[in-house]
Symmetry: C2
Subunit: 244 residues, 2 copies
């Protein structure tokens, strides 16, 4: 049976302008791979209600799970929660459970829970909260969409809350053969091996080090004996290869 | 008049699995911002013919310019050129100009231009070549789509070839006020200023340093006197702010 699939929507003008370099894609990708959920598509859109809505609808229909990052803070440009609610035609308002959670934290910290911060307690009806152990304003899950913060430390904490609860597939095992030859030299025999093992995903990733070209050949599948066979075949075809 | 727009398609299983961390989005975003072209959407898809085709078609219809990275090497998993040709229903084969360009380079380097490397000379009819000063296998531009390598050093060289040739809009000027207060404290007055200056894009980006929360308020527009006015307003509202 195929693994569950996922899509990821990154929301934020600051990523598209180059001002902020995204690191959330890499983190989520690693955690999903570990959980045997296949990340199939990422989209990055600007802080625009219609664009967020359309992207969430498309990803939610297509993939088993959707994650979003960004746009759930207290300022006027934080419009994600409302766009997600609109995407599912769901009412949204300040919700008592989210408000109480934030009030408890802010009281301890001596910070005022003002109108702006209350914006972060706007949660669509029927959504469940995602606890935020870093800065306390929660994320939420609505249908198959998990809405999380963009700040990497908070995003990572929320991913660590949500992903382990999802049902994964059969974990992929991966083995890598590093070959000190250019991709153009190995591509022919590599294609022959790849077509002999259609159930194994075989990727080739070039590198360039100390003036020489080389290739990392990465094999992935969930069947260990099959993976062993393809690696044996690769090693006999490319005896100079070194397993990483 | 609004700036020209752009979309970016990143192609590669290795990004979606987390094995490779993308750095091309950040580079392209910076160069487009510098050229006054607005990057509006990024998609990352896997090495799948149908998914590449569909994403290229969607982005090409929606935005003025489209860039792609990845999947134009010599190995069996390099399927981008064929998918782009299919997306525009254009024939594709080894093209003499690309072959000659590569042959000249490989001859000098003493490398065989074998069948696998010839795959990199597959260029759709009517496309123009993008010179690759790093490793010589060219990219290409077909309609409004610029097809480039995924390896960052090659991608960057190709971006530097293509972007300066495109007609940009009016350059955005940006000014940043760093305020050592949490977003939740400044969000109310900030929203008032943002709605008073609808032509200025005002973004707020939280940071956390040495145990304290702060906010970088970034204002962007192409009209310098207007930008000066909004900054004066911000500074008078948040006198503790420091311009960056």
């Amino acid at each position: 049976m195929a693994n569950p699939t996922a899509g990821f929507l990154v929301i934020g003008d600051e990523i598209l302008s180059g001002r902020t370099k995204d690191v959330n894609v890499g983190y989520l990708a690693e955690q999903l791979t570990r959980a045997a959920i296949d990340l199939k598509e990422v989209r990055i859109v600007d802080d625009n209600h219609q664009n967020i809505m359309a992207a969430v609808q498309a990803l939610s229909q297509r993939w088993d799970h959707v994650f979003t990052s960004g746009g759930i803070g207290p300022t006027h440009d934080d419009i994600t929660a409302d766009a997600i609610a609109a995407a599912f035609d769901t009412p949204i308002d300040v919700r008592e459970d989210a408000r109480a959670l934030m009030a408890a934290h802010y009281q301890k910290a001596g910070v005022e829970l003002n109108q702006a911060r209350l914006r972060m307690a706007r949660i669509p009806d029927g959504a469940s909260l995602i606890v935020n152990p870093v800065s306390f304003a929660p994320g939420f899950s609505l249908k198959n969409v998990h809405v999380m913060a963009g700040v990497p430390s908070v995003f990572q904490a929320m991913v660590d809350m949500v992903v382990p609860e999802l049902k994964g597939g059969k974990a992929l095992i991966s083995r890598t053969l590093k070959i000190d030859r250019a991709e153009g030299d190995i591509a022919g025999p590599l294609a022959t091996i790849a077509s002999a093992f259609p159930a194994v995903s075989i990727g080739s990733y070039p590198f360039h080090r100390a003036g020489r070209y080389g290739s990392n050949v990465v094999c992935r599948c969930s069947d260990r004996p099959l993976l062993d066979r393809v690696m044996a075949e690769l090693k006999s075809t490319f005896p100079e290869g070194q397993e990483q």
